[in-house]
């Protein structure tokens, strides 16, 4: 095709096992081509192959990558470097790690101009300032004089996009550029990417695990799984009529709402009034008034640094309480964990974000789940064994896993073990701290479904902390929105989503990507 900037034909890359198998795609100038896949799909290897790079230990078995008419794997090293300098740019996920800490941002952003064109320093400063202005960075004239450690993560991400534009590339590869960002910053970056591609007419690859983000940005879409192409097509077609089961599941996951758990009572099991907590003398959360209704799912939502995890940890007794009152079933909640009686500790269980860190790698699943049984209820021996098997059935894992070490389990399985361990204490309240944010979308969905089923089987109250407002829409009874250590809005879920009272809630809702057509266009 005339205006194809990148084409990949039958690309196969092996490490010890195959990583990519028979990948073919073509990207035209002026379009954004989305690549979606879960962890282990081979996204990063594919991104590197697009610039002719293979990681250590990787080998190209077959296939061809053609960028701006040149077959990358047939070029000599100097030729390949020249193509990279002139034709293609790459925007990485972690901008903080991708900038050299030794040099000022301006020098790094304009390095290629100096190398390729010999542009003098004064002119490069101007080029950089223009780009920084285009990317809406503060003080564009002086921004380039800063070092990477002096600016925020969102600003660094935009500076990296500026760096990608310096050589007027034919193709820009965006490798999960918004994954580490808050939704409001994510929306800004998405807008910028869309504008740039339209204005400059270059081709773009957008790699992500988040279908909603890709669906908004990409003109065409490729679904990648275990190194194979599941499906490729126009984004609209793929969203509306997916051909493969995996794609259908991904799409369904983002569009359907789960049947809500029947709310039981409205009796508050935990009540906070003017509650404040923090470390040392500094209160990180304050003026907190919150009721967790028994049998309800209360979601605590906010961007990073809003204090949502601090609040959850303060309820669990892990953070110093600075003021206000807290009651648990009408009785005062002892602030310090160490001062709480054993039974109080049993009734409230905490599940961490990263199951990798929450399971001791040197304890078998049996030991991990068996300990709370023995510790809280004194259940050992045959009785414990029966309980262990029941718990494994409850979290829908095979009983054989009892003798495994966490290292041999997947992320989702590990999180189920953590849930089983919390259930072993027979708790009344579960505090779930971003328990699904490290999981792939379909696994996330299955863990949420599991929690909902458990809620129906037993009298549990759930405090669910998340940064993902879209996720809470599907199962929350009440939502508390946090910003800068305070609760800005606390209301039943229907109210929050249908008629949010606070501007900040509206901003968050507005910035959360959804699948609907034209969502991003409406926000340009």
């Amino acid at each position: 095709m005339e205006n194809t900037v990148l084409s990949i034909e039958g690309l196969c890359i092996d490490a010890r096992a195959p990583i990519l198998q028979d990948i073919s795609l073509a990207v035209r100038a002026g379009e954004i081509f989305g690549v979606i896949g879960e962890s282990g799909a081979g996204k990063s290897t594919l991104a590197m192959a697009m610039v002719g790079l293979l990681r250590a230990g990787c080998r190209r078995v077959a296939g061809k990558v053609t960028l701006s008419g040149q077959s990358l794997f047939d070029l000599s090293q100097p030729q390949l470097e020249q193509v990279r300098r002139r034709k293609v740019s790459y925007v990485a996920q972690s901008a903080a790690a991708a900038f050299n800490p030794f040099y000022r941002l301006g020098d790094q952003v304009t390095e290629l101009a100096a190398l390729e064109l010999g542009t003098p320093a004064a002119e490069r400063r101007k080029m950089a300032a223009d780009l920084f202005r285009e990317l809406q960075l503060p003080n564009p004239e002086t921004f380039g004089a800063r070092y990477p450690h002096q600016v925020s993560g969102g600003q660094l991400q935009r500076a990296m996009i500026a760096m990608a534009l310096i050589n007027n590339p034919d193709l820009i590869i965006f490798d999960e550029p918004t994954t580490a960002l808050d939704v409001t910053t994510q929306l800004e970056v998405m807008r910028l990417i869309r504008k740039i591609v339209t204005a400059r007419g270059c081709g773009a690859i957008y790699i992500s695990h988040d279908l909603a983000v890709v669906a908004q940005l990409a003109d065409r879409l490729m679904v990648l799984r275990h190194g194979k192409v599941i499906e490729t097509g126009a984004t609209r077609t793929l969203m509306e009529t997916p051909q493969q089961d995996y794609t259908r599941a991904l799409v369904a996951n983002k569009t359907t709402t789960s049947p809500a758990v029947q709310a039981r009572t409205a009796q508050p099991i935990i009540a906070l009034r003017d509650f404040a907590a923090g470390y040392g003398g500094v209160s990180l959360v304050q003026d907190i008034s919150l009721d967790l209704s028994a049998g309800h799912i209360t979601c605590l939502v906010g961007e990073s640094g809003s204090g949502k995890t601090t609040l959850a940890r303060a309820i669990a007794g892990l953070v110093d309480v600075h003021g206000g009152t807290a009651t648990f079933q009408g009785k005062p909640l002892v602030p310090r964990l160490e001062d709480r009686p054993r039974d109080a500790r049993r009734r409230m269980q905490y599940i961490h974000q990263l199951p990798d860190l929450a399971l001791n790698p040197r304890q078998t699943v049996r030991e991990a789940i068996g300990r709370p049984l023995a510790f809280f209820a004194g259940v050992t021996g045959a009785a414990a064994e029966a309980r262990l098997r029941q718990l494994m059935r409850d979290v829908e894992l095979p009983e054989e896993f009892l003798d495994r070490y966490p290292g041999s389990l997947s992320g989702g399985q590990k999180q189920r073990i953590c849930i089983a361990r919390a259930l072993a204490a027979d708790p009344e309240v579960l505090i779930c701290d971003e328990v699904t944010s490290a999981l792939d979308p379909l696994v996330e969905e299955s863990v949420i479904q599991l929690l909902l089923r458990l809620m129906q089987q037993r009298p549990l109250t759930l405090l669910f902390i998340t940064h993902n407002l879209g996720l809470t829409r599907r199962f929350a009874h009440e939502v508390a929105v946090m910003q800068a250590g305070r609760i800005v809005e606390f209301a039943p879920a229907e109210t929050i989503f249908a008629a949010p009272r606070e501007a900040y809630t509206r901003t968050l809702l507005d910035a959360t990507p959804v699948m609907e057509r034209g969502w991003l266009e409406a926000r340009l």
């Binding site: 500790r345 269980q349 905490y350 860190l357 929450a358 399971l359 361990r421």
Partner: protein, 268 residues
């Protein structure tokens, strides 16, 4: 390649340990007996020749091995017990315990080890006890420096917090949460410390402040026979080479272990 190195190291170390244990059975002569002509060449007087008093070098090396290995292992065990328990304590307690211990270890480590040992031994006098205790204190600081951050990393893990949320006691933390996870690093570090102790005691004995005559460890044997090298005798090189063989074999085993358990590289 690494596996071959490991097997060779393991075989060499096993032979050395057996030689030390069975010295009285293997040695052809008593280490103190003048049985050959002074400075007899290898072949004329025993397997490795004789020293200035006509004592059999091979027998003396076998007995010297007992001192070198015995002292090094004792020092490593003592240092591990002290260094590791203090490191665990500091990582777990944090606060003042951590700061004071850290300060003390820094101060001891800010003096070169051999200088420190010389000062202490000059004052306290050289005996097997003072030697082992001095070395153990110095080695304990090295254990501490490596193990404390490892233990601190483990204490910061969520699974330790899960135990805290449950309300476990100190014993559970140390035995069930920290120790099993620190074990690979600990074992690797133990090997490194043995190799280091071998070089350390050999160096001290070579300088004359280690094992005292008439007994001699490998470093002492080098010292005794040092003059012979100037007249073209190789006898001092045999015990020195033996020291190198011990450290080389221990390092070979540790290297394999570190790779097997992919322990962080900043060890040693």
């Amino acid at each position: 390649m690494r596996n071959l190195g490991f097997l060779l190291s393991l075989a060499a170390f096993a032979v050395l340990i057996l030689a030390a244990l069975l010295a009285p059975l293997i040695a052809p002569y008593l280490p103190s007996e003048p049985v050959h002509a002074p400075y007899a060449a290898p072949g004329d007087g025993g397997l490795l020749g004789a020293d200035s008093l006509g004592r059999d070098m091979f027998s003396r090396i076998l007995y010297g091995l007992r001192y070198t290995l015995g002292i090094s292992l004792t020092v490593a065990v003592l240092a591990a017990c002290a260094g590791v328990s203090l490191a665990f304590l500091a990582a777990f307690r944090r606060g003042w315990t951590d700061i004071l211990l850290g300060r003390l270890v820094d101060a001891i480590m800010s003096v070169p080890q051999i200088i420190f040992a010389l000062v202490v031994l000059a004052v306290a006098g050289v005996s097997l006890t003072t030697l082992i205790l001095t070395m153990a204190v110095l080695e304990a600081t090295l254990f501490y420096r490596v193990i404390r951050p490892v233990a601190a990393d483990i204490v910061a893990m969520d699974y330790v917090e899960v135990a805290r949320l449950r309300g476990e006691g100190l014993g559970w933390y140390l035995r069930r949460e920290i120790l099993p996870n620190a074990a690979p690093t600990l074992i690797a570090e133990f090997g490194i410390r043995i190799a280091y102790a071998v070089l350390f005691i050999s160096g001290l004995s070579f300088l004359g402040v280690g094992v005292q005559p008439p007994a001699a460890d490998l470093g002492g044997l080098v010292r005794e026979n040092a003059l012979a090298i100037s007249v073209g005798q190789l006898s001092p090189l045999a015990p020195a080479a033996c020291i190198a063989l011990i450290t080389l074999s221990v390092n070979g085993i540790v290297d394999w272990f570190i790779h097997k358990y992919s322990i962080r590289a900043e060890l040693g």
